[in-house]
Amino acid sequence: MTYTSTNPLLANLNNLYLEYIGLIVLLSTVGVLLGIAGHFVIIGPNAKRLGKLKPEIVRLTPFERTAHFVRMLSFIILAVTGIAFALFHVGTLGLSYVAAYKIHLVFAALFTLSSLNSIFIWLKDSIFKTYDRDWFKVMGGYLTRKEIHPPSGRFNAGQKAFYWFSTFFSILIIFSGLMLAYPGKFGLNSLLWASVLHGISAIGLIAGVIAHAYLGSLANPGTIGTIIHGKVSREWAKNHHPQWFEEIEQK
C-alpha cells in the first residue's frame, strides 16, 4: 500500500492561503465597504429622481423574489459562520463548533437549492447581447456623476456579469462544500483543494455580493423595491432597462 502525501504545490498554496486569509477577509469586507463609501461620496447615486416615483411594473415574480430572499438570507448566515470557521473564531459567535457547523450545513442546503434555482430562472435573461458592449464601454455610467443610461435588457450587462460570476463561484463553493461535509469519502489532497477553493469562492462571493447589494439599493434609487414588493416605476424601467421596457410595452 502506498502512502498519500501532500502535493507540494498545493501545500504551499494552502500555507499561503492560511497566512493571508485574515487580510483577504478584511479586504473583501471592510475593503469593499470602504470602496463603496468612496463611490457614494465621490460619484453618488445614479438618477436620484427615479427613486421617488410610484412602482407599478412587476419586475420580479413572487417566485423569483422568494428564490432571491432564500439565497440572500442563507448567504449571509453562511458568510458569517464561514468567516468564523476560516479565522478559527467560532467562539466569537457565541456558538459551539458543532452548533455553528450544523447551522452552516442547513443553510448550505438552502443556499444550494436557491442558487441552483436562481441559476436556472435567470439564465435566459443573462445571456450577453451585442448591445451589452455599449454598457461596458461606459461601465454602466457608474464612473461619472453624469446620468448615463446605456442599452440594457431585463438585466444590464453588469448584472449579467454578476450572474455569471456568482454562478461560477456558487457552483464551486457548493461542490467544494459538499466534499468538505464528507471528509471520509475523499482523498487528502482533494479535501485540501476543496478547502482552499471553498475559501477563495467564499471571498469572491462575499466581495461581489456586497457590491451587488450596494448597486441594487443606495447606488440606484428606486431599485430596492424589486426584491421586496417586486415592482418598479415605468420611468425607472424606461431609463435603466430600455430594451426590456420596450419588450413589456409591446406585450
Binding site: A11, A109, N117
Partner: protein, 346 residues
C-alpha cells in the same frame, strides 16, 4: 409556475438524498493511507484557539494538567512586572554586555520561577532574566542570579542562559510555518504537530497521535557521567529514563498512556487514569498491593524536587544503584546498572 414547482421539488429531493448521508461521516471510508510525518512537514501551526474550536472539551481538560502550567504568561501572576532593570549577560565570560530591560517585555514564567525573555544584543537567544520567589503576598521578583560586574560594590542582576526551552517552553523554539500562532508553553501542537491540514480536512491521520510525543521530553536521554565515567549523574527526568528498563516497557504491551492521561487529571490533580497510585496499578494487578516508596522510589538527594519517581517498576531498585546520599548529586555507581542503562540508549 408549474415548471418552477417541479424543478424545486426535484432539487429538494436531490438535496434530501445528499444530506441524509451526512451523519457519521467522520471515519475514513476511502481506503487511503496517509503519510502523517510528510503531511505534517507541509502543515502550518494554527494555535490552541483554533484547535479548541472543535476540541473544546479536550482543551478544558488539558488546561487542568501540569503540562498546561509548565510555562505561564505574566498576566497569570499578580506580580507587577512593569519595572526596568539593568541586566548583564551571564552567559558570556568575557566583556559581558549589559542592557536596561522592562520585565514586562518577557515571554512568561517557567514553573512559577524563571522569568524568560529575549535580550537584544546578548549572546544567547533566550535568558532567565529574573526569578519569582514565593512570598506571603504571592510572588516576588528577584534577580536570576547576582554578581558584581562593574566592581562598584553593588551586586548586579545577571541573566542566565535558558536551556530548558525545548521541553519547558517548546513554543518559543518551534520551527516552521505559523509559529506566531503558538503560545510559549506546551500547547496542542507541541505533541500533535502542526494542525492546519488536519483542521482543514478533518483527517485524523494528518495529526500525530502516539506516545512518541511523550518520549520527546520524558526521554531515555543521554545520562551525564562523572568525569571518570564510573557513575551516572541523575538528571531531572531520571525516573522516565529508567522506564525503558522496566518490564512494562520491554514487554511491548504497556505504554505511557496505559497508566497516564494526556488531557485530563484525576481527583488528586495528576495525569493518572486511576484516582491514586493503588487504583492505577489495580487496573491490571488486581490482588497485589504495592508500596509506592519501594516500587516507584523517590531519590532522597533530589535537591530541587526535580526528579520524577522511578519508573523502572522494580527493574532498578534504589538499593542497587549504589547512591551515596552524602554526595549532593544523585549518582548511579553500580557498574551493572550503568551498563544496562547505556545498552538501552544505543
Amino acid at each position: 409556475m408549474r415548471k418552477h414547482f417541479l424543478i424545486s421539488s426535484l432539487l429538494v429531493l436531490v438535496l434530501g438524498l445528499i444530506l441524509s448521508g451526512c451523519a457519521g461521516n467522520e471515519t475514513n471510508t476511502k481506503k487511503e493511507k496517509i503519510d502523517t510525518k510528510e503531511v505534517q512537514q507541509m502543515s502550518a501551526y494554527i494555535g490552541t484557539d483554533a484547535c479548541i474550536t472543535c476540541h473544546s472539551e479536550t482543551g478544558q481538560g488539558f488546561a487542568m494538567t501540569s503540562h498546561a502550567g509548565i510555562f505561564k504568561s505574566l498576566d497569570q501572576y499578580n506580580t507587577d512586572f512593569k519595572q526596568m532593570v539593568n541586566v548583564w549577560d551571564g552567559a558570556t565570560k568575557e566583556n559581558p554586555a549589559t542592557k536596561a530591560i522592562n520585565l514586562e517585555d518577557t515571554y512568561g514564567v517557567m514553573m512559577d520561577s524563571y522569568v524568560v525573555g529575549n535580550i537584544d544584543g546578548f549572546s544567547q537567544e533566550l535568558y532567565r532574566v529574573a526569578s519569582l520567589e514565593k512570598s506571603e503576598q504571592g510572588y516576588e521578583l528577584v534577580a536570576a542570579s547576582l554578581k558584581d560586574y562593574n566592581s562598584d560594590g553593588i551586586q548586579d542582576w545577571s541573566a542566565k542562559a535558558y536551556s530548558c526551552a525545548e521541553c519547558h517552553s517548546p513554543g518559543l523554539v518551534a520551527q516552521g510555518l505559523g509559529i506566531k500562532n503558538l503560545e510559549p508553553g506546551i500547547s496542542c501542537e507541541t505533541c500533535h504537530g502542526p494542525g492546519s491540514i488536519h483542521a482543514q480536512t478533518k483527517r485524523k491521520e494528518a495529526i500525530s497521535i502516539n506516545q512518541n510525543a511523550c518520549i520527546t521530553c520524558h526521554t531515555l536521554g543521554q545520562p551525564s557521567e562523572t568525569e571518570d565515567g564510573s557513575s551516572l549523574i541523575a538528571e531531572n527526568h531520571y525516573g522516565t529514563r529508567n522506564w525503558f528498563a522496566s518490564d512494562h516497557y520491554t514487554s511491548g504491551y504497556v505504554n505511557c498512556l496505559s497508566c497516564h492521561t494526556s488531557h485530563e487529571v484525576n481527583k488528586e490533580g495528576s495525569m493518572l487514569k486511576g484516582d491514586n497510585f493503588t487504583e492505577n496499578c489495580a487496573s491490571c494487578h488486581k490482588d497485589e498491593n504495592f508500596d509506592i516508596e519501594e516500587i516507584m522510589w523517590k531519590n532522597p538527594t533530589d535537591l530541587h524536587d526535580h526528579v520524577t519517581r522511578d519508573h523502572s517498576f522494580g527493574a532498578i531498585p534504589y538499593e542497587k544503584i549504589g547512591d551515596n546520599p552524602e554526595t549532593k548529586e544523585v549518582e548511579i555507581t553500580d557498574p551493572k546498572i550503568i551498563k544496562k542503562l547505556k545498552s538501552l540508549i544505543k
